[in-house]
């Protein structure tokens, strides 16, 4: 019934659907249709794969009461708006948009469909009451990786394949570098900007460029397993980390550990809230403690003492006794950012567009 109203379109659209939404919200919905918008293919073995696992967990948790739909390979930009509108018109009650670049399209479409809930991953804009944002504290995992990288490098050169210059990525680079530096003061960090989330050949080329520069530990913030495949060609001389997904097929080396994004608890919780009527706008940012960021098994390629230190750091972060950004930390230009013992406020992190002291090179604008 509601859907037919929407399809009739015209001026009645906004009013009618808003009415339907309010009533539904008070009592909870009988059945929820949840839409997921992915930036890459589900088979990327990384970022999108994990989001889809979360979507499947929702289906598992509520069975007949939910219907999930998804769209893969949605380009960031104007096309995303078309896909979102299509999903909204097809009767979705809640739509998860799972890439930073969907931020503006999500807010734009949300304005037109006030009764539909929009959830945007890794962004910060909540222009309308029906837009929530959710993210995971990946920098906590990067701290653990940085420690391993600092301890494991023999050439004292570590690398980072970055995607786009956004706070999300820069946070990870800073955390990785700070902890590598702490573990090994001689360490140097090379950063390669790939300007793509998903292009296996380019990601492999970036890894190769780093390896050609004597880098022997590579972390990546792109979506595919290609950097690990490139590292695997060196017969153990170069190690790396699983990104977004466990990437267990490259165990025990080159993949010595990983950051696993676990979106399932959040998706299950949010769809559940819609079903029982407790849904409210949210700005969610969970980390290791909340189970959204998991540290994949640290393999035997890492010496036992380093592994123990890394696990101790993970546990301290989970327990809340250690924050990866604890002062004193200076910005790249030498100006003070955090005083001795101070921890970074979330606002600083979410808008982080500067490198910390010691990293060379400039952030592309």
């Amino acid at each position: 019934m509601k859907r037919r109203t929407i399809l009739k379109g015209g001026a009645a659209l906004g009013f009618a659907s808003m009415l339907g939404g309010k009533m539904a919200l008070a009592q909870g919905l009988e059945k929820v249709k949840a839409g997921f918008v992915y930036v890459g293919p589900i088979g990327d073995g990384g970022w999108t794969f994990q989001h889809h696992q979360g979507a499947l967990a929702v289906q598992e948790a509520y069975g007949d009461k939910v219907e999930i739909v998804w769209q893969e390979n949605v380009p960031e930009g104007a096309d995303a708006e078309r896909v979102l509108t299509q999903m909204a018109l097809s009767g979705c009650n809640i739509i998860f948009t799972t890439s930073f670049g969907f931020m503006d399209p999500t807010n734009a479409v949300a304005a037109k469909f006030p009764d539909i809930k929009f959830e945007h991953a890794t962004g910060y804009k909540r222009d309308h009451a029906n837009v929530s944002t959710y993210n995971a504290r990946f920098y906590e995992g990067r701290a653990v990786q940085g420690h391993i990288a600092g301890k494991m490098t023999k050439t004292n050169k570590i690398g980072y394949i970055a995607s786009f210059p956004i706070p999300e990525v820069i946070m990870g680079i800073n955390s990785y570098y700070l902890h590598a530096k702490k573990a090994n003061p001689a360490v140097e960090l090379s950063i390669v900007w790939a300007f793509t989330w998903f292009d296996p050949a380019k990601e492999a080329d970036a890894a190769k460029a780093l390896i050609d520069q004597d880098v022997d530990v590579i972390a990546s913030h792109t979506d595919s397993t290609a950097p690990l495949a490139e590292a695997a060609k060196t017969n153990g001389a170069v190690i790396g980390f699983g990104q977004a997904s466990d990437m267990a097929e490259y165990k025990p080396s080159p993949r010595v550990s990983s950051i696993i994004d676990n979106w399932a608890p959040y998706y299950v919780k949010r769809v559940g809230a819609l079903l029982d009527g407790t849904y409210a706008q949210l700005d969610a940012w969970e980390g290791i403690a909340g189970g959204e960021v998991e540290i994949g098994e640290i393999t035997d390629a890492v010496p036992a003492d380093v592994k123990a230190e890394a696990e101790a750091m993970r546990d301290a972060i989970a327990a809340g006794t250690y924050h990866p950004f604890t002062g004193p930390i200076n910005k790249q230009d030498g100006s003070a950012w955090l005083a001795e013992g101070a921890t970074a406020p979330d606002g600083d992190l979410l808008g982080m567009m500067f490198y910390v002291e010691g990293i060379t090179g400039e952030i592309p604008s």
Partner: protein
């Protein structure tokens, strides 16, 4: 030798590897276009080659059979295009675009069971003492066999088009299918064969991506290489050696800009990222603008369907 942390011989060796998929796909497309057919489905055929090659290599444990499988799989897909455009006279542009979409989808379907599997390794060609020659050893004699094959194919296509009767017939069909038909050549048959060759080459290029360059299967693994190949054919004004040059330029600058970043060069990253596209187009356009005849290089019947009754 070492320039700002970049070793030239390593860089050249990397660019030769990085360019192989584009060279193979582009030289195949060049033959297709020389025969007067515009097949925009290169990306789709490449990715079919990538998955078919991967599946065959994993199934048989033999990387060489994998490449054969990739070429066959992509040629089979190009046969669909050939039937639609040559027999049923469908619009070539629309059919080519549809072929890409179809190839992407089908490869994803076939690839479902292959995510996370590693293919059998393809080793470098053992060239013994040649590999130890300073500079040239690294640049020329430390590659896998497909790198050499890609250059051989370019040379072969150039020689066939320029010196042989087959080449002459192929070009005649592409320049004026009516005249070729009047002379008694089987226009449709020749075009179908050219399309199959183009498909097989695109398939080899795709298989190179999934078997050697990034030895794994991931959905969408070719990530647009087919479109680059298409563009290079045009900017190379349908000349085989310029295709090689264009592909090396593109591959080379892509590798160079990543290396510059890794070495900590002070050039802004934005410029580095756009440089492969910009420089490749600039160089090829300038090269073909000299004689003022670049447009004449396009096969005259390119993209036009042929039917004997006309």
């Amino acid at each position: 030798m070492n320039f700002g942390g970049i070793v030239p011989e390593v860089l050249i060796a990397s660019l030769m590897v990085a360019s192989v998929p584009i060279i193979l796909a582009a030289i195949g497309e060049l033959v297709v276009e020389k025969a007067g057919v515009l097949n925009l489905g290169v990306e789709g055929m490449m990715i079919m080659g990538a998955i078919c090659g991967f599946a065959t290599a994993v199934g048989t444990g033999n990387p060489y059979l994998g490449f054969a499988g990739g070429a066959l799989g992509a040629a089979a897909l190009s046969l669909v295009f050939a039937v639609l455009t040559q027999v049923f006279l469908a619009n070539q542009v629309a059919t080519g675009l549809a072929l890409t979409l179809f190839g992407l989808g089908l490869s994803s379907l076939i690839g479902q069971g292959y995510v996370g599997i590693k293919p059998p390794a393809t080793g470098d060609v053992p060239l013994g003492p040649l590999e130890d020659i300073p500079f040239f050893g690294t640049v020329l004699f430390s590659h896998d066999w497909v790198v050499y094959l890609s250059i051989a194919v370019v040379a072969g296509v150039w020689a066939v088009l320029k010196f042989t009767r087959i080449g002459l017939i192929l070009r005649a069909v592409g320049e004026s299918h009516d005249a070729a038909h009047a002379l008694g050549y089987k226009v449709v048959r020749i075009r179908v064969l050219a399309i199959l060759f183009g498909g097989a080459m695109a398939g080899l290029g795709g298989a190179y991506v999934s078997l050697i360059r990034v030895p794994q299967w991931t959905d969408g693994i070719t990530a647009g290489a087919g479109w680059i190949a298409l563009a290079i054919v045009v900017f190379a004004s349908w000349k085989p050696w310029r295709v090689l040059l264009g592909a090396y330029l593109f591959g080379g600058i892509t590798v160079l800009q990543l290396n510059l970043q890794a070495a900590g060069a002070t050039i802004p990253v934005e410029y580095l990222s756009m440089s492969p596209y910009l420089i490749t187009i600039l160089v090829l356009v300038i090269m073909s603008s000299g004689k003022g005849k670049a447009a004449l290089n396009a096969p005259a019947s390119l993209g036009q369907n042929f039917h004997a009754s006309r």
